[in-house]
């Protein structure tokens, strides 16, 4: 059994960390036959397309979902998200399948449980969670690593799973690694102790990051949702506070599963992002982007984000 972002997976695939508990798994992962990339049937739930290229699609048919990552793997997911059957296209690197399982598939498994999932990393600054949000390549993991260099702890990487209550928003923790792109691993030179590293199936370097094992349920109150704007021209870290509908639209654009065309999932996303806009400080943060980065920048980042958390979300 392995635990990844609050879910216990029964799987041989190396996702998350070995789970110590002996309770029943939340998700059982089966290995199926190779996918053949036939046409998908049923109702389209989501489609991730850029410039005419299909990256992944999700369809619902005959009491289950098919999450197809085109040319790589089909994941057959039960309606309640309790089972996943992996059907890799012949020749797909097993490590790639593991990366997909721990990323897009896990995001969808949480969506099936009524949670909204944003694209980002989260760190713990003091006792408050800070979500670092942005599209692919916006520097989420790198900024998280910079924050860790200045004393923060990592909560999650790639996925920010939101839980809302009447007057607060929480995000799930439990991650122990950050995945850095080639060229960005030097950021760990700023860490007091050189971390353990491993290569991942998508050509990145996973580094063991300082994490938190507390609280027991692995969720922490979200204080800041920061939309990352890396800028080679910026001279210093700058914040722009977003309010109301601007904040909601900016957050909805960060959905981890993009191209949603299902009313139920969109309703969950709208409700969760509106809750974030109500109870959490939403900021766009401009980050000077001229690697190699300095410890000064790391401190500046955490001080700036810490200033927002100290000020609170009150408006």
């Amino acid at each position: 059994m392995r635990r990844h972002l609050g879910l216990d997976f029964e799987t041989e695939r190396p996702i998350g960390a070995p789970s110590l508990g002996s309770c029943a798994p939340d998700v059982i992962v089966h290995e199926g036959a190779s996918a053949t990339e036939g046409s998908l049937q049923g109702v389209e739930i989501a489609a991730d397309r850029h410039l005419g290229v299909d990256y992944y699609s999700i369809f619902y048919h005959a009491e289950r979902y098919t999450l197809r990552v085109h040319t790589l793997c089909d994941f057959m997911i039960s309606r309640d998200g309790s089972t996943v059957e992996c059907r890799p296209v012949a020749g797909t690197d097993p490590d790639v399948v593991s990366v997909l399982l721990s990323g897009t598939v896990t995001a969808f498994l949480w969506m099936l449980r009524g949670r909204a999932v944003l694209h980002g990393s989260a760190v713990l600054q003091g006792s408050t969670a800070v979500a670092l949000l942005g599209q692919s390549g916006s520097g989420k993991s790198t900024v998280a690593a910079l924050c860790c260099a200045a004393g923060a702890k990592v909560l999650s990487d790639d996925l920010v799973v939101l839980e809302t209550s009447r007057d607060a928003v929480w995000c799930l923790g439990g991650a122990t690694e950050l995945r850095l792109r080639p060229g960005m691993r030097s950021v760990t030179n700023l860490w007091p102790v050189k971390p353990a590293e491993r290569e991942t199936g998508d050509g990145r370097t996973a580094i063991s990051a300082p994490s938190t094992n507390d609280p027991a349920d692995g969720r922490l109150r979200l204080g800041v949702a920061a939309l990352l704007c890396p800028s080679p021209e910026a001279a210093e870290v700058r914040l722009n506070r977003l309010h109301g509908t601007d904040a909601v639209f900016a957050l909805m654009a960060q959905s981890r599963v993009t191209g949603l065309c299902d009313i139920g999932f969109n309703a969950d996303l709208l409700a969760a992002t509106a809750a974030v806009a109500r109870h959490v400080a939403v900021v766009a943060i401009e980050v000077p982007w001229r690697p190699p980065f300095s410890l000064d920048l790391a401190g500046q980042l955490l001080d700036t984000l810490g200033g927002v958390t100290t000020a609170g979300a009150g408006r």
């Binding site: 509908t245 909601v248 969109n266 309703a267 709208l270 509106a274």
Partner: protein, 91 residues
């Protein structure tokens, strides 16, 4: 007596944030932002409200004259109707 107007209930989702409204029309896959003045009307339209009463709400809330309020309500209702966000009934 003027017509009672009501927001469409099927396929239209909305959330109030900081006195503004975010609307999702799931049928047509579009999002809409409603400003704070429109949000006052929106909340009333969610329950169902006559256009006369909507104008009264604007007068009371923003201190504008009745003619201006009636004109603003007509434009707002027409905009929502054009976007197929209303279901209407005569009283």
């Amino acid at each position: 007596m003027t017509a009672t107007q009501r927001l469409r209930r099927d396929g239209v989702l909305w959330q109030e944030v900081d006195g503004q409204i975010v609307v999702l029309d799931a049928d047509k896959s579009f999002f809409l932002a409603v400003n704070s003045a429109g949000a006052v009307l929106w909340q009333a339209l969610a329950e169902g409200c006559s256009t006369d009463h909507l104008a009264e709400i604007l007068v009371q809330r923003f201190g504008i004259d009745e003619g201006q309020a009636a004109s603003d309500v007509r434009r707002f209702i027409a905009d929502l109707d054009r976007r197929n966000l209303l279901e209407g009934s005569e009283v």
